[in-house]
Symmetry: C2
Subunit: 334 residues, 2 copies
């Protein structure tokens, strides 16, 4: 691989996706991308006795599906990159420990899918790994009680709030698959001082703008060079702010841009306010919908720009702002 | 690099440590390794208004010291691997965002220093990065209130409990330094069913045993081939259990083994019960004491085996066990 410009990595024997899977809950099944999921659960407890354990099961199911599709045993996978939103990433730990694969826990908030894929790609390209798994999840009920209010409280949601997806996405990275990871960029933390934990889109938009500008500059490309540029998960408020941030830099993303948080649900019908969010949102939209479209040849070259808000309830309670980060992958179907 | 056996990576143009720094609090300054710290703070608030913000400052200080020692500007560093124990790794985010370095958050609990170093080494060896930073921290007061009881409660500590270090360690990985990272191993999650959050050493010992056995087997080496094998942070209880686990595998580690949690404090004099712990414990012992000893030529070939307990208060309250993980680096001073 070689470095391109200031921040971008270009892969030469490009790592590719050997298999991927998206799993989701009831609401995700009922949304416009319902058919793109490999598996959905009407009962979002997944028959576990806590939401956290249910989320762990989502990761376990996603990994099991991917290994099955690829026809690969856990022992044939060299590294497992995983993370989630729960404190100390417990859904990754408890969901994945039985696979017995060397485990490197990641924390990039809702940008985790791009982060795990980027590291998996680097390790495969460099020969450090023959195959590496990238997986992440979120669960609406576990996230609400940890980050906001327990569901039983019945709190009113702000119009800028996003709906944490109950979903997981997983991909196996190796050599010889169809969809290739051609380039990648790890983002810098950006903080424009947004402090409202019910407006994550606004907090993450500056990071998306920064990473997208850096990537376009490093690669000397324009938005229209791509069949699609997909952010995740800015929602409606963050998307508008992203366009504004990019306009200041002379970049017009609108003709090719969509946001995973706006794709996953029908905002009119499903009452999700500003759109979807959570690690599992962009992960499942990528590993389901977007990769299906690539496999069908509808999309041949895309940017997957996953965004994360690097905050905790503690930092917000202490008056801190909400910094964001955005990692980018260029995926091609040659 | 090449893969050695089942789990080990061997580096060929070995990435090395260009500079490193250890910072600590008052208790760490008073301990047997006090003189090995680059900087210690008598006031462990670091003049911040919360423990979490103080911990963020520890990381910031550690990174600043390392950049200064190496004579490197932040723009010359391609990736920053960082993590900590706080929910959503906020001390890493808030401590490091001003450096403007592409950020990849890591979660390996107290194994984080080895995890960040391993990934930094892989990225440097592969050419993905010219230089990469690895940093982690912990703070006694922030950890106590998050994982156990607020200090104001004045709770009695169990004899098996370990004392979370108020410390951070940071290293800059690149090519051309003196101490080299020759080999590395990412561990598998191990869970022997320990459920007592006041006995982390016991929870992590099986993971240390598993990773050490795998490493010795992959590299066809014996404990006595190393000048020292340093685990972190098993403390007294975990160390005894490690010897027992290894004895079952016919491995006698005792002649060359020391535990970072037992090195950092004087257990007799400092009332730390079973020893030190926390991401900052093994990180600061490595980046201070151990690397000083390597630079002086007292140690020429060591294994740094950082252990982490992958739990949260939520998982413990829900009756889950405490899984552990252990990542290993072989460091040589040729």
């Amino acid at each position: 691989m070689k470095r391109l410009g200031k921040y971008t990595l270009e892969f030469h024997r490009p790592p590719s996706l050997l298999a991927q899977a998206a799993v989701g809950g009831k609401k995700e099944a009922e949304g416009p991308l319902g058919k793109d999921f490999d598996q959905t659960f009407q009962d979002t407890t997944l028959q576990e006795d806590s939401w956290e354990k249910a989320e762990a099961q989502l990761q376990k199911e996603a990994v099991s599906l991917v290994l099955g599709k690829a026809g690969v045993r856990p022992q044939q996978v060299d590294y497992l990159f995983a993370g989630d939103l729960l404190n100390q990433c417990i859904s990754s730990t408890f969901g994945l420990m039985d696979f017995g694969i060397p485990f490197l826990g990641q924390y990039g908030a809702c940008s985790t899918m791009a982060q795990t894929l980027l590291l998996a790609a680097i390790l495969v390209e460099s020969g450090a790994a023959r195959r590496a798994l990238a997986v992440t999840s979120s669960h609406f009920c576990a996230a609400e009680r940890q980050f906001r209010l327990p569901l039983e409280y019945g709190g009113q949601r702000s119009p800028t709030a996003q709906w944490t997806a109950t979903a997981a996405g997983c991909a196996l990275v190796g050599l010889g698959g169809t969809v290739q990871i051609r380039r990648g960029l790890a983002g810098k933390i950006q903080d424009l001082g947004v402090k409202d934990p019910a407006n994550m889109g606004a907090a993450m938009a500056p990071a998306a703008a920064d990473s997208i500008c850096a990537f376009l500059q490093d690669t000397n490309t324009r938005p229209e060079d791509y069949d699609g540029i997909f952010t995740g998960d800015l929602g409606l408020v963050g998307t508008r702010l992203l366009y504004q941030c990019l306009e200041d830099n002379g970049v017009d993303l609108q003709p090719v841009h969509q946001d995973c948080g706006l794709l996953l649900y029908d905002r009119e019908r499903q009452d999700v306010h500003a759109g979807g969010s959570g690690c599992g949102c962009s992960a499942s939209v990528l590993c389901g919908h977007l990769l299906h479209r690539m496999e069908r040849g509808e999309l041949r070259r895309i940017l997957f720009c996953a965004t994360g808000a690097l905050m905790s309830p503690t930092s917000s309670q202490q008056g801190q702002s909400i910094p964001g980060v955005c990692h980018i992958l260029e995926l091609v179907q040659p």
